[in-house]
Symmetry: D2
Subunit: 301 residues, 4 copies
Amino acid sequence: MPLSPEQKAEIESQRAGGERTLRAVSPGMEARLYTAHEVLDHGFVRVIDYMGDDAAICQAARVSYGRGTRSVQNDEGLIRYLMRHWHSTPFEMCEVKFHVKLPVFVARQWIRHRMANVNEYSARYSILDREFYIPAPEQLAAQSTQNNQGRGDVLQGEEAQRVLDLLRDDAMRSYDHYEAMLSQDGQQGLARELARMNLPANIYTQWYWKTDLHNLLHFLRLRADAHAQYEIRVYAEVMCEIVADWVPAAFAAFRDYRMDAVSLSAQGAAALKRRLAGEVVTQENSGMGAREWREFQEVWG
Amino acid sequence: MPLSPEQKAEIESQRAGGERTLRAVSPGMEARLYTAHEVLDHGFVRVIDYMGDDAAICQAARVSYGRGTRSVQNDEGLIRYLMRHWHSTPFEMCEVKFHVKLPVFVARQWIRHRMANVNEYSARYSILDREFYIPAPEQLAAQSTQNNQGRGDVLQGEEAQRVLDLLRDDAMRSYDHYEAMLSQDGQQGLARELARMNLPANIYTQWYWKTDLHNLLHFLRLRADAHAQYEIRVYAEVMCEIVADWVPAAFAAFRDYRMDAVSLSAQGAAALKRRLAGEVVTQENSGMGAREWREFQEVWG
Amino acid sequence: MPLSPEQKAEIESQRAGGERTLRAVSPGMEARLYTAHEVLDHGFVRVIDYMGDDAAICQAARVSYGRGTRSVQNDEGLIRYLMRHWHSTPFEMCEVKFHVKLPVFVARQWIRHRMANVNEYSARYSILDREFYIPAPEQLAAQSTQNNQGRGDVLQGEEAQRVLDLLRDDAMRSYDHYEAMLSQDGQQGLARELARMNLPANIYTQWYWKTDLHNLLHFLRLRADAHAQYEIRVYAEVMCEIVADWVPAAFAAFRDYRMDAVSLSAQGAAALKRRLAGEVVTQENSGMGAREWREFQEVWG
Amino acid sequence: MPLSPEQKAEIESQRAGGERTLRAVSPGMEARLYTAHEVLDHGFVRVIDYMGDDAAICQAARVSYGRGTRSVQNDEGLIRYLMRHWHSTPFEMCEVKFHVKLPVFVARQWIRHRMANVNEYSARYSILDREFYIPAPEQLAAQSTQNNQGRGDVLQGEEAQRVLDLLRDDAMRSYDHYEAMLSQDGQQGLARELARMNLPANIYTQWYWKTDLHNLLHFLRLRADAHAQYEIRVYAEVMCEIVADWVPAAFAAFRDYRMDAVSLSAQGAAALKRRLAGEVVTQENSGMGAREWREFQEVWG
């Protein structure tokens, strides 16, 4: 339950408003504004503001005076061309601001994307809420035996229960002690900036996060990817749906030329050309290392 | 005359529109949107889009769920506090996109501000218009004798006329030859990306330029300053007026704590304290160098 | 004890080396290279590499072909001028790379400085060590009653002991359970990327952090400041000493024009001018708010 | 002839020096330091300073205490893995500073790469030299008829001569008038910041340009590409040779996974899979537009 009744009421009152603007308006994004899209057990993503739409990308690429009389089809073709040829500046002309509630260990990965503006809830200044991420049973995975930074089988039975108990108990105890240290009941109360150090990385924090469309797509490319940790991927997936509603043409081009695209190394491209010419290519004669060959085969058989 | 009738018509049609939005709306900015504010002889600045307002700064600083019930007065106090104590991230939560027409030598100074998104009209791809900046007579200044990068007295009479004639004639001849090289009349026509190299730095270019409020204020602090070159300062001054309408509280704080503020070095602060205590401070006993002492005296007598 | 014997041996072997280079060499920095400067109970800062020196700042500002025949005195004067007039690009021409070991809650503040390059030890990929920051008794401060993000009196006696016990016990228990969840002893062992969420914010992490001198000085200005949290300030203070050895002229200018400088708002400057003219200025006739007036009085009496 | 005898002497004296350092040293880069690599008719690129080598990339990726005992082969494998999987931060750990002399229209493209530090020779402060880029006859290309931003056939005979004469005459005349306006011979002399506006875009400027290896490779990927304008590509090509000497393993990985790599869209990858399965794929059944199909055929036949 990510939102209190008061918070829900605030969001409803924001959605009930509406004023006239001369700016570009994206109907798909207006339908999303302010609403909290739930993620994990207590987290959410909501759009607070946005600037621009598909037409704004084209307008900037053309440095034009108005929104022009070009057809939507022309705009789509231009957007696909820009994406295919790695033009980045027109996509930077759209901007979006999110309000995100997320576990601290997810925030620590997320913040590595530097081309963004961030205001985080301050545990130096304020007291954090008692809200922790506890994985759903189907997410309680063992360490992968092949991949140092991956997950293997889902834990079962007693083993799963033991992990859940440890996570839940330690979170509650840490928070009890956080409160006990802060308390001014018969004592002075430890400084907030010190007490917070007792809180584990699955506590929830929240922030305003603002970035441009080019950098957002780069973030989504890495974080909506199958190799990203599940707990950040679910945020990225919700944001993909939002972007698809906001700038449908840009998102479609992104999907085709980035998310679902395949990058071939010089060796990989040569191997495919030889295969197309009927040759049998093996790791030995491909010029690829063992690991790269395995990755190549996963895609091309 | 910066705009053609067709361009004016496009702008009028943009201003005639209007749709409902749930986003924060700044009335002062809506009144500015799309309109070309004329600068120099053929240049302009116009706002194409914006995101956020004074309340959005506070909302981000508080990481709050709604726009809250805080009074405007509270918001102003918070904004002044944030500005005074060099908080930058809340101001990054507002964004603005300009369409600017400007001489190339001004563009070359402007682009040094890297924290911005830019799409410039491409002289590789398209043909530039025959529009050059020719200074107004009262801007035709001699080299300063004190300051290597400053202006002295305004040139008069024949000397002024000679300079204006040179600038105008060279501009026209360069453009004639640019056209002659490009022409496909009885010849192949030189590539645009080569022909453009003949054009002088006072030709006009244009771009879409987008940045956040924090970085915009930094730009304005340096470029609306008396030490900035006149030809970029006039752009910055128009943008100051626009920002004052967009986020009045943030701009007032910026004026008081940045533009009209005074920075004292350790030595300068010590000198003032001694003066307040009745002491006479000279360069010799101030710890300042000759040049710094002169700069100190210009402010404090 | 921040370093193991093996790590100390590695550092000694690095310091024992030495090769010829044609690059600019800073003797003060060579003396610091690789050595771990201890900070807090288990942390450290050590310089891994650097580029440039005071002369390099001047050389870039002059865009010169060689290191020139200018005297050191000329260089110092130029550096002071550049710093006084907020020139930033010449200072960006020096670069430094640190290896830092620090508690996670300090890392979370530090990473907010985005103009830097970072490689952090990955708790997704590897297992963290059992090392936690436990404040020294004299740092165990109560919440400030005046300042929401500040510290008040130091806790005493039983109250202090209780806090220390809680922090230490919770850290040890969290780590025990982290190990228990990871263990493959008779079970599959939870994925590292999940198990880490049980670890509190006072666990130590480490990273390589690289930035240019301009951005480093900005970091130091904010983090070596009296308002910064003690636990990050001690890192900044050590780095100040390192920078003073690396680029003595730039650091002296930084101290005079930034660290020990005083910024006066428009209202503050006007108030001082009136005082110098013999007038009595009060909050009421100063144009300052109550809080700003208090801050003004702290400096100027 | 890009360098005067005095400048050559300064460079020779820099190369004659040499001091001991404890830092990582790249022998390939030491051999390049300070030397001017000539580009175009008056331009050059020279390395002024660098930080890091191939081993430093691995050291940062491992967040290790020393340079380790890993074999060069291990390091190469790690570097290839990092490049293949789009890890960027380890490559950011190397830094390089160039001194570049280049025509203004090339500088205007170059500066669009924002993640770099720049100090440019100031035509506000100083007087520019009489040096202009005049294309070699084999570079005097006509506008492409297929590609708005490309070159077609090389101009021949009279047409070529006419272009060369126009470029050369206009450059000389503009510079004569620049000098005439600046002159204080019997007049006050126009301010430098104004007089420079008469100079065409083929005049040479120079700057110090510093960036990290990740951003440099991104620059080289775009600017050493066949679609880049010739006049910037020749700079990028020289820089590729320098980088290959500096960090051989990183450059080899960059060549295989970026420069010579092939990116396939979702539709392109599907088309290739169908071809490998023996199917005939046409534009109509490929899901690609006409232009994309043409680009696909250029690579895959």
